[in-house]
Symmetry: C2
Subunit: 425 residues, 2 copies
């Protein structure tokens, strides 16, 4: 396959995809739900082949779990698709309507981004979620999944593609690339591919960012913090910390560092010690932390690490202001939480922490498109431009300005014969 040529063809198809109706796009999603149910045994069979091959080549158990596509995951996918069909059309929303002058009407209207390239880890449900988000938002998509799910991806893609074109969406609106070298070809498609969304390890995302001129949306790392304030309800703090660390330690929204106000250390750290010990979490801490709880000693230079494992670092701070400075300096601007009953400290924290998610009295693990009610997510952005945090439909559209006149020229305004009146309608 010549990815550059395919991307060029897709670029030309993109305006027709953008012009599709919501009825067509929802019909495509409904059709996908149906064929997934109908062909589920074929999908499971293809998936068995992937899982067997992965086991044979010694892929570790947690990864195998991610590769596996079963009744439970199918149910989640179908429910996500259902939720997506119920969401309003993200395309064609008029977000500004202003008369610049008599008979000169400016409108800003949301439109799909165009052609999106998504490179994602070996997870069959990711292929379904990503393609359905792109379809609902009227985008064309080039999909490249992890090689360990090649068989599952092939059948899923074929079913989805047939459903989509069957519902009247343009041929060529979706494309799957499978060879690893095609990633580099994709990176060279600036001008035809409008956006790249890489998912995977920090190293991989960084590689993509360093090797393309196409805009990239993604997160380079997830170093999340929880600050336990002096006015914290410690009975809330403990389960929140345990959940944020252990519910899915490899997730980017899992917590990596706990900051504790020094004045409550003597009371809180022994409680934390006990809870983390029972949860099987290994603790790293500064020298003063080791005086209150079991921890391997670390220095300031050791913060800012994403453990992605049952490991956690702990540090004492004098107040919320020092906590904020630590987070802004060592964090990855992903999601950070304060545990406090003090409204003033919470407001300060929420204002000053420069992250996509600023939380109070709940687990950082809530940072997720499903949990936010977006139907699904294509990823979580730690960048500040365009989309921040979990990226759902709204992150997959841009806008254009429509200006309608009846012969207006700029010279009349520049030379004072006419004046703008800028009336919002």
């Amino acid at each position: 396959m010549n990815v550059r040529e395919e991307a060029r063809a897709m670029k030309l198809a993109a305006p027709r995809m953008a012009a599709s109706t919501m009825e067509q796009r929802n019909a495509a999603l409904t059709k996908i739900m149906e064929v997934l149910e109908e062909k589920k045994n074929d999908i499971y069979r293809a998936n068995d082949a992937d899982v067997d091959a992965a086991k044979a080549s010694g892929v570790p158990q947690p990864v195998i779990k991610r590769l596996r596509f079963n009744e439970g995951k199918l149910k989640d996918c179908v429910s996500g698709l259902k939720q997506l069909t119920l969401l309003p059309d993200p395309v064609g929303k008029v977000t500004l309507r202003r008369e610049l002058d008599e008979g000169l009407l400016l409108e800003r209207v949301t439109v799909p981004i165009g052609v999106i390239g998504v490179i994602f880890e070996a997870r069959p449900d990711a292929l379904i979620q990503i393609s359905s988000l792109c379809i609902k938002s009227g985008n064309c998509a080039i999909l490249k999944g992890g090689k360990e799910t090649t068989n599952t991806n092939r059948i899923l893609f074929d079913l989805i593609y047939e459903a989509v074109t069957g519902a009247g969406l343009p041929a060529g609106c979706l494309l799957q690339v499978t060879a690893h070298n095609e990633i580099d070809e994709l990176l060279g498609c600036q001008g035809d591919v409008d956006l790249l969304i890489p998912r995977g390890s920090n190293k991989f995302v960084q590689y993509i960012m360093d090797n393309t001129n196409i805009p990239v949306m993604g997160h380079s790392s997830g170093v999340c913090h929880i600050y336990v304030d002096g006015m914290a309800d410690l009975q809330k703090a403990i389960p929140i910390i345990v959940d944020a660390k252990t519910q899915y330690p490899a997730a980017c929204n899992a917590v990596e560092t706990i900051l504790v106000k020094r004045s409550i250390a003597a009371k809180f750290l022994p409680m934390l010690d006990d809870a983390l010990y029972h949860a099987g979490v290994k603790v790293y801490g500064t020298e003063e932390v080791t005086g209150y709880m079991e921890a391997e000693q670390i220095g300031d230079e050791d913060f800012g690490i994403e453990y992605s494992d049952l490991k956690l670092s702990v540090k004492l701070v004098s107040d919320v202001s020092e906590a904020v400075d630590h987070i802004n300096c060592y964090g990855s601007h992903h999601t950070d939480a304060i545990i406090t009953e003090d409204d003033e400290a919470a407001a300060f924290f929420e204002q000053m922490v420069d992250s996509a998610g600023v939380y109070r009295n709940c687990s950082t693990r809530f940072a997720d498109g499903f949990r936010y009610g977006f139907g699904a997510e294509v990823g979580i952005s730690t960048g500040k431009l365009h989309a921040r945090g979990p990226v759902g439909l709204e992150g997959l559209v841009t806008y254009k300005y429509r200006l309608t006149g009846n012969g207006q020229i700029v010279g009349d305004y520049a030379e004072g014969r006419k004046e703008f009146h800028h009336k919002d309608l």
Copy 2:
């Protein structure tokens, strides 16, 4: 000056700038208006030195005109500042408010981007506009203006900085860099500078994009089109084309190519010939165009050029669909117009042309932040991500998600003990 260190210091000041009130930011803008009026003779004197030096080194007349800061430009700047103080606060707007579950409230709130680096051409009014947009939107800014206005920029920056800090905004929220080598230092400030906005030649903007990992917003070129449809009112078409080409030929929103429906060529091209001749515009055209009007013959490979001069290319197309394909292929996704009285053709054009601005029956020169009522613009974006078209205050903010709970953990939802209800408030 060590730009990296200054940028790091600014990064740490950014949350305090973001926390400033609209009253403080508007007071700063008002103070700027006052000191500009008060110190105008000092500014003119500094500007005279710049203009004299430019003349002595043989800078061409149109550029001299841009360097000049006089009563007229001061008036425009003050009126832009006034307009800006009247605009609503772009910061702190809640754009989503959703109860995920009982007692778990999600809010999305607009926040400044943080630290913005703007590199702009030698135009004193640009310094005033850019810094005032950054102030109003709560951003910190590093400014680098063209070297031909060094003296004017120095006094303007000093006056603005004094006004801003006098109004209670944090010290260090604005910085001017002046040495050319400091641009390269600025390009290396990823992590501390959140966004770069380069203005200037295509080549310069491309250089910036190729040499930094910081997100860049800008336009790489302005190749704008006007399509004259078969149902065009030709009495509107002629003045619109003349305005779009001649009112300011060097502007990025000036038209470069006229596409004409073949069926009206015999009638329209002689009219166009006459008008362009009188306006002093040189025409390039395909072979068939030269049969109808005075034009130097060009081939398909010669389209897509930004003349930035009193030059224009003309091509015939069979219908609106071919016009759209030409524009999407050769254009720069900036601003393109259709001249027609046919609603269907207009709707097709507006839907299918993939540009920041899609216009009907008016000049492409309207693509401008002032004319759109944004108070000012930091530039025009031909990218699709984050901001598209003229970039005013809304393009200078991003958002964060606030999630407020009372002890909620994800485990309860993952294991079915609780369910999200996603209620928009």
